[in-house]
C-alpha cells in the first residue's frame, strides 16, 4: 500500500524543461511514475522526451495541463523566485497534491501559497523537500529509486540525504517501505509529520513508522504526542542536530534553535515520553525497526 499517491497518480511536472525538472522527470518516468504533462510558460505545444521514447506534452499553464490530461498531482521544479507562484497555480487549478522540491523560497511568499492551497483544498508536500516515493509504485520528487524496496515500513523525514541514509539501511536489512516521505526542511511546510502519521495510520500496509526529525520548531513534539495518543503501530525516531549550537541556521531554513524550544534534547524527550524508541546513530534505525516488528 502507499499514502497520498500510488501507481495510478497522474503527474504534471512544473518546470519540466528546466535543468532539474527535465533530469528528474526522466528519473521519475524510468521508475514508473505516470508523468502525463509538463508545464513551462511560453513553451506550450512542445513535447518532452522521456526515457524509452516516451513523450510528454508540454503546456503553458497548469490549468490547460489538467484540462487536457487529467493530472491529479504536481511536482514543482521551478526556481525560488517563481516557485511559490507555481504552487499557487497548481492549487488554483485544483491539483489535490503538490510536491515542491525547490529550496530557498521566500517565507512570506509561502504564507500566501499555503493559504491558497488550504483555500483550494490542495495538499502541498514541501517546499525544500525530496518528495515522496512509494516503492514499486511511483515516485514524485528526487528520492533515488534504487535505495528503496517495497515493504511494511513508513518513513517520514525533514531532510533529504539523511533520509536516503536511513532508507538504505532499512532496505539492506530487508525492511522495505510503503512510502518514504520527505516533508522538507523549511519552516513553513504544507504537510507535517502528523499529516503523514495520520495517513500511515490509515494505511493497512504500514506496520511500523520511522520519523527522522531535526532541530528547530516543535513539529516532532507534536508528532510524538499525536503518535502516543493515536497510533497503535511502533514508531522509531531519530533527531539530527544534537551538536548544533543555538541561534545558527544549520543549512535548512527551518533548522535553527531559538530559545529553549527546538533542541534535539527536547525532541528526543518528547519521542521517548510517547513510547518512540530513538536511535542515536542512523545505522541503528533499522535494528530498532526490526526489533519493533519482531523480526
Amino acid at each position: 500500500m502507499s499514502i497520498f499517491v500510488d501507481e495510478k497518480t497522474r503527474v504534471v511536472v512544473q518546470g519540466i524543461t528546466g535543468r532539474d525538472g527535465s533530469f528528474h522527470t526522466r528519473q521519475m518516468m524510468a521508475y514508473g511514475t505516470r508523468v502525463v504533462a509538463g508545464v513551462t510558460p511560453g513553451k506550450g505545444g512542445r513535447a518532452f522526451e522521456g526515457p524509452g521514447g516516451a513523450v510528454v506534452p508540454v503546456f503553458d499553464t497548469v490549468a490547460e495541463a489538467v484540462a487536457r490530461t487529467g493530472a491529479d498531482a504536481s511536482v514543482v521544479y521551478v526556481p525560488p523566485a517563481f516557485a511559490a507562484s507555481a504552487i499557487m497555480e497548481a492549487a488554483d487549478a485544483r491539483i489535490p497534491f503538490v510536491v515542491c522540491v525547490t529550496e530557498g523560497i521566500p517565507v512570506l511568499d509561502m504564507t500566501r501559497a499555503h493559504a491558497l492551497a488550504r483555500d483550494r483544498g490542495s495538499r502541498v508536500l514541501g517546499p525544500n523537500c525530496p518528495g515522496i516515493i512509494c516503492p514499486g509504485k511511483t515516485t514524485l520528487g528526487i528520492i533515488p529509486g534504487r535505495i528503496v524496496a517495497p515493504g511494511p515500513v513508513g518513513l517520514i523525514s525533514r531532510s533529504g540525504t539523511l533520509t536516503y541514509e536511513a532508507v538504505h539501511h532499512l532496505t539492506r536489512a530487508g525492511l522495505g517501505q510503503t512510502a518514504c516521505v520527505g516533508i522538507g526542511g523549511d519552516p513553513l511546510i504544507g504537510t507535517s509529520f502528523v499529516d503523514c502519521l495520520e495517513a500511515f495510520a490509515a494505511d493497512p500496509g504500514t506496520e511500523a513508522v520511522v520519523m527522522i526529525g531535526e532541530i528547530g520548531g516543535t513539529a516532532e513534539q507534536k508528532a510524538a504526542a499525536w503518535a502516543g495518543e493515536n497510533l497503535d503501530i511502533p514508531v522509531v525516531g531519530f533527531i539530527a542536530g544534537r551538536t548544533a549550537p543555538p541561534g545558527k541556521r544549520m543549512g535548512h531554513a527551518g533548522a535553527i534553535i531559538s530559545g529553549s524550544a527546538g533542541t534535539a534534547e527536547e525532541k528526543t524527550r518528547a519521542f521517548e515520553e510517547n513510547g518512540i524508541r530513538v536511535a542515536l546513530r542512523p545505522s541503528e534505525i533499522s535494528a530498532l525497526v526490526a526489533d519493533a516488528l519482531g523480526r
Binding site: D20, V107, T111, I143, P144, G160, G251, G259
Partner: protein, 376 residues
C-alpha cells in the same frame, strides 16, 4: 541577514514611524560633535549583530559631550560575543514614562506572520516569555488580509490605556507590520517602544532580520550587509553557495545535505570526537564547490582531520571525487582526508580517488570512527 539598529531604524522611518533621532559614527571625536547637538545628553549604542549589548557594556548614557566621547572610546573596538564594534549610534536621551515591546515574525504552526506585544518592554523578551508568558499577547495575521486596523488597535490596547497613546501605538504596530512585509523580513522588533514623559509614543530601538531568500529581489537591502560583522569563513561559504557554521572541534566535516551533515557532526561527537564545523555542499554536483569547501575547512588551524560523508542522489559521487583531487592539487592539505561515498556514480568516484591515492569507505559509522581516531 541581520540589520544594524541604525539600518532598521531607517526602514522604520521610511514607513513613517515615530522613531527617536540618531546618528552613526565610527570614531569618538565625531561622537562628541554629534552629542553636542543634543547638549551632551545622549545614549551611545554599539552597532553590532549581537543580543545583550547592554549587559556587555555596549550601551552607555552620557550627560555631557565629553562623557559621550569617552563612552564611544570605550565601546568602539570592544568585542561583543566575538564581534568587533566598528560603529556606534548616538541618540538624544528620552524621558521614558513606560516601556513596551512589539515584534513580528512568521509562526511555523499557523504559517502566518504573528505579532507579539507586551507591556513589559525594555527587557529580554525571551525572559518574559519564560517567566511571565501571559504578559505577551499574540495576534496571527491572516496573510490574505494583512493586518486589519482593528487588530492593530486591539494590540495597542494591551500596551497603552490613554486613547491618544493607544492610537499612536496602533499606528506604530501597523507600520512595524508594513516594514516586515514590504522588506521581506523574517523578524522585526521594537524593544522598547516607549511612551515619553510628554506622552509621545516612540520606537527607541529597532531590530530587523531579513529573509536571506528575499535578498535576490531586493538589491538595495542586500547592499546593507555589513561584511565586517561576518565570520570570514561563513562569508566565503555564503558567496560560494555553501552552508557553513564554524564550531569548536577539530574534525572538519564536508557533507551533502543539511540533515546528513548534522547527523555526521552528531556521530563524530557520539564517537568521542568534536566536529570543527557544519558544512553542507548542497545537492548540485560541482567540483568547484568541493574545492571551495576544502579551502574553507583547511583555513581553520584547529582542523586535524577532514571527513567527507557523501550519499549520492542528485549529488554525483564522481563530481565530489574530482573536487577532492583538484583541491589537493591546488592547495596544500596537511590534515588526512577520510572519505565515505555511496550512491550515484560511486564506482567512477572510487576509480578517480584511487588514481590519486585516496581510499573511500561505504559505511558512515566506520569512516566517522576512523576520522575521530585520526583527530586523536
Amino acid at each position: 541577514m541581520n540589520l544594524h539598529e541604525y539600518q532598521a531604524k531607517e526602514l522604520f522611518r521610511a514607513a513613517g514611524m515615530a522613531v527617536n533621532p540618531g546618528e552613526v559614527a565610527g570614531d569618538a571625536r565625531a561622537v562628541r560633535r554629534i552629542a553636542e547637538r543634543w547638549d551632551g545628553k545622549v545614549v551611545v549604542k554599539a552597532q553590532v549583530h549581537s543580543g545583550g549589548r547592554g549587559k556587555a557594556g555596549g550601551v552607555r548614557l552620557a550627560r555631557t559631550a565629553g562623557e559621550a566621547e569617552s563612552s564611544a572610546e570605550a565601546i568602539l573596538g570592544m568585542e561583543i560575543n566575538g564581534l568587533a564594534v566598528e560603529r556606534v549610534l548616538v541618540s538624544p536621551l528620552e524621558e521614558i514614562a513606560s516601556e513596551a515591546y512589539a515584534g513580528v515574525l512568521v509562526d511555523r504552526d499557523s504559517q502566518c506572520p504573528v505579532l507579539m506585544v507586551s507591556a513589559e518592554g525594555g527587557v529580554d523578551i525571551e525572559e518574559v516569555a519564560r517567566d511571565n508568558p501571559d504578559a505577551i499577547h499574540r495576534l496571527h495575521v491572516d496573510p490574505r488580509y494583512g493586518l486589519m486596523p482593528h487588530q492593530a488597535f486591539g494590540l495597542a490596547g494591551k500596551l497603552f490605556r490613554d486613547p491618544a497613546q493607544r492610537r499612536q501605538g496602533a499606528r506604530i504596530i501597523a507600520q512595524l507590520y508594513q516594514v516586515f512585509v514590504e522588506n521581506g523580513a523574517s523578524m522585526a522588533e521594537i524593544n522598547p517602544l516607549i511612551a515619553t514623559a510628554a506622552g509621545e509614543v516612540l520606537a527607541i530601538d529597532a531590530k530587523v532580520s531579513l529573509d536571506d531568500n528575499e535578498l535576490f529581489r531586493r538589491p538595495a537591502l542586500a547592499a546593507l550587509r555589513d561584511p565586517g560583522s561576518e565570520d570570514e569563513a561563513e562569508r566565503k561559504a555564503r558567496e560560494k553557495g555553501l552552508s557553513f557554521v564554524r564550531l569548536e572541534g577539530n574534525v572538519g566535516c564536508c557533507v551533502n545535505g543539511a540533515g546528513l551533515a548534522m547527523a555526521t557532526m552528531d556521530l563524530v561527537k557520539h564517537c568521542g570526537g568534536e566536529p570543527a564545523n557544519f558544512l553542507d555542499i548542497g545537492g548540485s554536483s560541482n567540483p568547484d564547490k568541493v574545492v571551495a569547501a576544502l579551502e574553507i575547512i583547511t583555513a581553520d588551524p584547529a582542523v586535524r582531520v577532514i571527513l567527507f560523508n557523501i550519499f549520492g542522489g542528485i549529488t554525483r559521487c564522481d563530481d565530489v571525487a574530482r573536487g577532492i583531487v583538484e583541491a589537493t592539487r591546488r592547495i596544500e592539505i596537511e590534515a588526512p582526508i577520510v572519505i565515505r561515498l555511496t550512491g550515484t556514480n560511486e564506482r567512477l568516484a572510487r576509480e578517480i580517488l584511487a588514481d590519486a591515492g585516496f581510499a573511500a569507505g561505504t559505511s558512515m559509522d566506520e569512516v566517522v570512527q576512523e576520522a575521530v581516531r585520526l583527530a586523536g
